[in-house]
């Protein structure tokens, strides 16, 4: 809890640093990966010092992202179980999108959208790691049968696509929902924001402080 009465602590310093390590590595991976996925994006290799450098750097950045995600997943796993309130929230999804939502259920630390992003990444990132190692030239690929490499390269593209879509939604949701970005930059949100978007979580943290 912040000393300023109208602010609530949402993410501590370590969480924020790790989130941004994850975010930066994800964006670097998406840019260098897309560059090698479709010729329309090949120009993005210039950001990394050319095609060869993009190819060399991408897998190492991937390992950093995986480790960062492991840390995040361990920390937020327990807050991402889908509850009855989430299912009720989903029924109001159209109104929420239209900014007309009223009488929403009491949402905990994360809403269903955030939880879905989390679970998509829980599946996508380990798949990206495993398939990525299989197609990692020149170190690992020669050890695998060619049809497995062909399968891995296809699955790597599909998993990356799904993860990129999830992250586009995640970024947009953060921009759209005013007052959210400061949770990851400053670590705090306003009490009004907490009460409005995550009332069950707000009750929990204000109780903890009183004790």
């Amino acid at each position: 809890m912040s000393s300023e009465t109208n602010l609530v602590q949402r993410h501590d310093t370590n969480e924020r640093i790790n989130h941004w390590v994850l975010a930066i590595t994800f964006i670097l991976l998406a840019l260098s990966g897309l560059a090698l996925f479709h010729p329309a994006f090949f120009f993005l290799t210039n950001l990394f010092g050319g095609g060869t450098w993009s190819r060399i750097l991408h897998p190492f950045i991937g390992v950093v992202m995986f480790l960062s995600f492991l840390g995040m997943a361990a920390k937020v796993w327990k807050d991402n179980h889908i509850t009855g309130a989430d299912r009720e929230w989903a029924r109001h999804f159209g109104e929420i999108l239209a900014n007309r939502a009223k009488n929403l259920p009491e949402i905990g630390k994360y809403n269903l959208g955030q939880k879905y992003v989390f679970w998509v990444l829980v599946y996508a990132i380990p798949i990206l790691l495993v398939t990525g190692v299989i197609i990692w030239q020149p170190y690992f690929t020669p050890a695998f049968p060619i049809n497995l490499v062909r399968f891995a390269v296809l699955i790597h593209a599909l998993a990356a696509f799904i993860a990129i879509i999830a992250i586009i939604i995640h970024i947009y949701a953060a921009i759209w929902t005013r007052g959210s970005i400061r949770a990851m930059t400053r670590g705090t949100v306003t009490v009004a924001w907490a009460k409005h978007h995550h009332p069950a979580w707000y009750k929990e943290v204000s109780k903890e402080v009183k004790q």
Partner: protein, 289 residues
């Protein structure tokens, strides 16, 4: 711009037309396995003309030497001792190397613009200065041919001596072959030559002799005359119906435009949602509560 670069049929990772004003005759190398004595003159000529020298390896107990293709060995002889019929031993010697497919899996898979070029004469050439070393061409190749060099991380394979052919010479291996097992010319002429050879082999007790010009890859610009064309696998696992793997076709086919479109639409959907609905703000009176 060298004239040779005006007869490009396809370039890797390029979605627009390549310069292809010039149309040259389709060429082919014909390898008559029944005439090959396994002398490796073609291997030596390849090394010499292309100035590539593989590391001296160790004897693996068989004649195959070097034991596999590599960044510096663009053609190798594959020796197979087989019994096509029980009790009838045959020593089948196949010169292995790039087949120069009409529908090249390497080119389809390559993400680097201009790293793989297909000329109108049918040659599929790697331009290593554009190669990024990702090995996708290896994933795409149905014949297991391209190799990443340990020296520079680029991928190499037979060029069909595109530099010699461009100036009217035959490939180095053809020039060196002492038995006439290797011949070179237009693809049409080579098919005719093969047909004559097959008639001869049929008369000599090889009723299944035939031409290996697999349609699954649109035909190739390196073709074999095989004594047992019904069983190409006898020849060190030459694939019977080679084709670009469906997984590679999917990965480098519809997924590329569809996923790119999907990503673009996701961004646009967000933008237009914002324009229509506006930000999701916490109302003032709530703040005061």
């Amino acid at each position: 711009m060298p004239l040779q670069s005006l007869d490009i049929t396809r370039r890797s990772a390029t979605t627009t037309a390549s310069p292809h004003q010039r149309q040259t005759a389709e060429v082919a190398k014909l390898i008559d396995v029944s005439k090959c004595i396994g002398c490796k003159a073609c291997q030596v000529a390849c090394m010499e003309w292309n100035d590539v020298r593989d590391e001296i390896g160790s004897n693996a107990g068989v004649l195959d030497n070097p034991p596999d293709l590599s960044g510096a060995s663009w053609t190798v002889m594959r020796y197979s001792e087989v019994e096509p019929e029980p009790g009838k031993l045959e020593w089948l010697i196949r010169k292995d190397g790039c087949m120069h497919c009409t529908d090249p899996g390497c080119l389809k898979a390559c993400p680097a613009p201009g790293a793989i070029i297909q000329y109108s004469n049918g040659i599929v050439d790697f331009h290593e200065e554009n190669c990024i070393g990702c090995g996708y061409c290896i994933t795409g190749c149905p014949f297991n041919i391209p190799r990443i060099s340990k020296k520079d991380g680029k991928v190499y394979k037979c060029t069909l001596c595109s530099d010699r052919i461009a100036v009217g010479l035959e490939p180095a291996c053809i020039k060196a072959c002492p038995t006439g097992s290797l011949v070179f010319g237009t693809k049409e002429d080579m098919k005719q030559h093969a047909a004559d050879r097959i008639v001869d082999l049929n008369r000599r007790g090889y009723p299944n002799a035939g031409l290996y010009d697999p349609p699954g890859v649109g035909g190739t610009h390196v073709m074999y005359v095989l004594q047992h064309a019904d069983r190409p696998n006898l020849y060190h696992g030459l694939p019977k119906d080679p084709a670009i793997s469906p997984m590679v076709a999917l990965w480098k086919g519809v997924t590329k435009p569809l996923m790119s479109l999907g990503i673009g639409l996701a961004v646009l959907a967000g933008f237009f949602h914002y324009v229509k609905a506006g930000p999701n703000e916490v109302e003032e009176e709530e703040t005061e509560k």
